[in-house]
Structure formats: C-alpha cells, structure tokens
C-alpha cells in the first residue's frame, strides 16, 4: 500500500514518523542526538533564567524578577493552591519543575533553529509520568495506608453493594493504568501531531516552490499556513504544559482527599 502510494507520487515525499529519528550530532552515542541535546539545554536555560531572576530579589522587582515571579505565582496559586488546597505548599516545587520543564521543551518546537518539541519523543513524557505515578501513589499510601487507599478508591460509599462488582475493577484500572497512560499519551500525541503538521506545510511549500509557475501561488499559501499554524502550535504547547501540570495537581489532590 505504501509502496503503491509512493509510486503514484514520485515527487513529493510527505513527512512521517521517520523524520522524528535523528542521527547523533557527533560521535555514536544516543546522548548526542538532537532531542537529548535540547533536553539538557532546556535544563540549563531554565536554571539560568530562574537563578538570575531570583538572585537580586528586591522589594521593587526588576523586569526579569517580575517575569520569574509571574510564572512561579501562576503555578503556585493558579494550579497548586486552587486544586490541592491546604497542603499545597510542599508540592509547589514539584509542580513548578514539571510545568517549566514541559513548557520550555514544548516551545522548542516553534523556536527557529531548534524547531523540535522534545516531548514528541514518547520516552520523555513517559519518564515524567513515571515520576508522577510514584509521587501520587506514595502520597496517598503514606497518608491513608495501602488498605484504606485501595478501599476508598474502589468502594465509593452510598451505592448498592452488587454494583461494586461492576465498578471496583473500573476504578482500579483508572487509577493504576488509564490515568498515567493518558497523561503521557496526551502530551506526546499533541506534540507529535503538531510537529508533523508544521513539517507538512513547510516541506509542502518548499516542494511547490520548485514546481510549475502556477503552483508557486500555492507555495505561498502553504508557507503562510505554516507560519500561522506555528502561532497556533505555540498556544497548544502552552496549553499542554498547563493541562499536564493541572492533572498532576488533581491526582495529588485526589490522593490527599479523605474520600475519593
């Protein structure tokens, strides 16, 4: 089928999942591929930004300090305090790290020269999700004990007893499998699809530019769509970082709650 399609269109080769695989920039180590280099760069970038913005902390903030505090305040009040409630303070560093880390790595997708959202490689969202998975189960087990945690999770009070046969496995699967799976897949899927879309319009525009004269008009349309979609993608990238952090906060809040 794929061979047939390629034979039917000898010219334009649309971008695919193969375009997400990179050769090492130098040497032969996997650690030198573009996504990993971007990942390390993001850590340096985030650390530098917040260290500089916090170093000369003053009562009357500089512009940089204001920017840093705005992001911090957004995560602390907008996500932590609103969702988790009373005990939010000790989870703020965790939420803040997740938010800035994902946001920076997502935004790499539209920054010229980098142009690759690290999170479109599924290994990265999965790694973050593994951390989250252990944190929210640990928090719950530490607070309620394993037995009570499982009981509260699977047996919701106030419904007829036979219904538990139907609902208990469902709740269990949701907490232990579906939640982490959807958390990782949503971030990965959004970044993967967005990057593919941008590649399609950019490569398409480039290909049309080299075609017959009347197709060059469509090349301009394709390029302008690529630019327009880049701004759209920027929105998605911020939104996905926000949703990921919000859901982590919700899971922690659920783990701390007395009744699920």
């Amino acid at each position: 089928m794929i061979k047939l399609l390629e034979a039917a269109q000898p010219g334009f080769k649309p971008p695919g999942s193969g375009d997400f695989i990179f050769q090492p920039i130098f040497g032969h180590s996997l650690l030198a591929t573009k996504p990993v280099v971007l990942l390390f760069f993001s850590v340096i970038l985030i650390s530098t930004f917040f260290i500089i913005s916090a170093r000369k902390a003053a009562v009357v903030p500089s512009k940089l300090q204001f920017a840093g505090e705005a992001v911090y305040g957004f995560v602390r009040d907008g996500i932590g305090k609103d969702v988790i409630g009373e005990e939010f303070q000790r989870f703020v560093p965790f939420l803040f790290t997740i938010f800035t880390f994902i946001l920076t790595n997502n935004l790499f997708g539209v920054i010229p020269l980098m142009q690759f959202p690290t999170m479109s490689h599924i290994g990265f969202p999965v790694s973050i999700t593994i951390f989250v998975y252990f944190v929210y189960h640990y928090v719950a087990i530490k607070k309620h004990g394993l037995g009570k945690y499982l009981k509260d999770m699977c047996f919701m009070p106030g419904i007829p007893k036979p219904m538990y046969i139907l609902l208990a496995p469902l709740e269990f699967l949701t907490y232990f499998a579906i939640r982490p799976l959807t958390l990782a897949m949503r971030l990965f899927g959004n970044m993967f699809a967005g990057h593919l879309l941008l590649m399609l319009f950019t490569l398409g525009g480039e290909y049309l530019l080299g075609s017959a004269w009347f197709l060059k008009i469509f090349s301009a349309i394709s390029f302008s769509l690529a630019v327009g979609l880049s701004f759209f993608e920027m929105g998605i990238q911020c939104l996905q970082a926000y949703i990921f952090t919000l859901l982590v906060a919700l899971y922690i809040a659920g783990a701390l709650a007395d009744e699920h």
């Binding site: 139907l166 919700l250 809040a253």
Partner: protein, 62 residues
Amino acid sequence: MAGNEEGALWSIFGYLISGLVIWGAIGWALDHWLHSHFFLLGGLLLGAGASLYLVWLRFGQK
C-alpha cells in the same frame, strides 16, 4: 475533588476508556475460553454502561 472543568473532562474520559477496556477484556477472555462470540459485545456494553453510571455518580449528582 476540585470542581475544575478541565480536570473533570479528563477524568470522565479516563473512566469511559477504562470501563470499555476492563469489561471488554473480561468479555474477550470469556469468549476465548468458551469459544463463544457474544461475551465481547456484552462486556463492551456492560463496561460502557458501568462507566456512564460511575460518571453520573461522580459528576452528575451535584
């Protein structure tokens, strides 16, 4: 749970998926074991019903 709409949306989505997955899997296993053909469909319908019931319990009563 906090009354956050975005969070509720994704929780509902998760429940709907897990209802289909777990009861669909049980139905499929029964079919496989008994060499029948109707438990998968029955399981999927039961799972869909169960997850809708759970969503109603969690989010529909307030």
